[in-house]
Symmetry: C2
Subunit: 377 residues, 2 copies
Amino acid sequence: MPVGTLASVKGTANETLEQLNAQIILANTYHLYLRPGTEQISKLGGLHRFMSWDGALLTDSGGFQVFSLNDLRKVTEEGVSFRSHLDGSSLFLSPESATEAQIAFGADIIMAFDECTEYPADTDRARRSMEMTLRWAKRSRDYFEAHKQEVPWAQAVGGPQQVELRASRPQPRAGRPRSHDAEATQALFGIVQGGMHPELRKESAERTVEIGFDGYAIGGLSVGEEKRVMMEVIKEVAPQMPADKPRYLMGVGTPEDLIEAVARGVDMFDCVLPTRNGRNGQAFTSRGKLNIKNARYTTDQMPLDEACNCSVCRRHSRAYIRHLYQSGEMLASILLTHHNLAFFLDTMKRVRQAIRSDQFAQFRREYTEQLNSGLEA
Amino acid sequence: MPVGTLASVKGTANETLEQLNAQIILANTYHLYLRPGTEQISKLGGLHRFMSWDGALLTDSGGFQVFSLNDLRKVTEEGVSFRSHLDGSSLFLSPESATEAQIAFGADIIMAFDECTEYPADTDRARRSMEMTLRWAKRSRDYFEAHKQEVPWAQAVGGPQQVELRASRPQPRAGRPRSHDAEATQALFGIVQGGMHPELRKESAERTVEIGFDGYAIGGLSVGEEKRVMMEVIKEVAPQMPADKPRYLMGVGTPEDLIEAVARGVDMFDCVLPTRNGRNGQAFTSRGKLNIKNARYTTDQMPLDEACNCSVCRRHSRAYIRHLYQSGEMLASILLTHHNLAFFLDTMKRVRQAIRSDQFAQFRREYTEQLNSGLEA
């Protein structure tokens, strides 16, 4: 899933995402809760309509950002008090309010509110954090069951808000309606925590499954641990998660991480790498990373990735994109982001094809060998 | 002409320009001369190939930027010494070197090197400046005649540079070849100066025509004078320029400026307004300017311009674009720039249609009335 933090995949028009066959994108509850706010998105018909995106959407619960962006947060059993990173105002998120916001946004998949356990955390601390995440998961689930009918598309059918909007202003032309069955509800995913402790991860998975969700995520990884440790945790926990429900590894990762996590049983990912690194001048290619700032590309007429068929690689040379980057032209970020998203989405498409044709092991070996052949070595 | 200062119309992919039927774009010799430099663009096959743009291109001569970006410039009969605004290095542009650079870039239309007379300038000063621009026009013309065969596409056929490139590296896939007849040369335009003095403008036009160019531009306007004065000069000078050659008003202007200058005989324009103002949150609409920062648009579900059929207006609401702008999302600039370019190009398309059907007077009245109906009044 490309990451569209503030209801926009940075530097990328929806048309580009459609051209790349992005089936689902992620938006961040924490950021949207702050700006433009739950009420406004709800008023405007929900997130799909607000950003005019007809594909699927997933919102996280805000838990991760509360932990990563707020040094002054205060965690209690009730929820988390924190200060806005924008204006310092006091805010509060709980399983109930995070779920309420996500129902108002109306993404297709929403996440239970969890505590992202810090790294490192000893067994005691990781257990206490895991236990709270489990209690919060139950509260998220209960709130969702009681309020799941309050999605924007149900409102749109007969809700007072929408009627008022229609009466008070010209029928809007912009923003395509989202074609949801008015009876449909969102899918709620639970999140497995437990730090880097295999036995806690196993327990967290079992007890999260007991509460019962439409899909399950692995949270609390890629928080500073070694890659080896992360892969070990994934290997332990993925098999504990139901095989007939999506398994989602949150906030990961590099192309090699995707392949290795798939090999251990993961189905879904989100990560800012293709967009953020693109803006910082880095292209992901079939032969490893390419840093467009590198002087060797000054007169290089090859595309970013010879093996890539995206419209950027069909049209533009490394020399041109390097010139744009060095000159501070916005188009450098646009083109690098576009290519990186194409590369990540193509990787996952090839993963799916390889699995379907029972050739994943071979694909994994070849893909990894090529990645390590070292374009810049 | 949308302005692509550094071989990129800021925030705009070539595909978007093609979708908007932009037939020609402008690039700035001064900026490209500094970065990435004449030699590199030449090595990479010229500007069309470097930026992978199959449409027409115009480069200015660098004269205007030398005057507007360099307080420490020193003008002599030979040319202009100045310091790079990037690193302070000493540089020199003359009619010969500016024309040499423009031949190396290989745009379809190139401009004679002129002195943009500062405003205000008394008659003496304006005459001295005009006389020098006339001498420089002759030198630009002479250099062009002696070197016009040195265009990149002639090089590509049998030039040593290109052969070497082909031998030393894999055949490039990126960058589409520009389909120029190898015998074709560029069009060189002369520039009329003379400050705000009608008699000097008239003389400058006559004597520039005597030198003989493929088209004629009005330079030295929109430099601080009142709009009324600018229109008076255009009214005086345009009829002095050949009716069977393009008349190009440089660096102008607002939608109303375009209509009023066309009414006085102008054919071509370039301006950074649609792109620069777009990045600053301003949309041009059929009912005047719209400042997306304005709080009134917070929940406004209308498109930027109800009368516009561009893909931004078909898809996105003012509320969404305002949210992107307020959140510092790059997509705000991308979408506003896209719409503004669509609006300017559509205005000129409608101008051409009105002239062809002999209804320009009516079009001018209606267009202007609507513009002044004041969306934000």
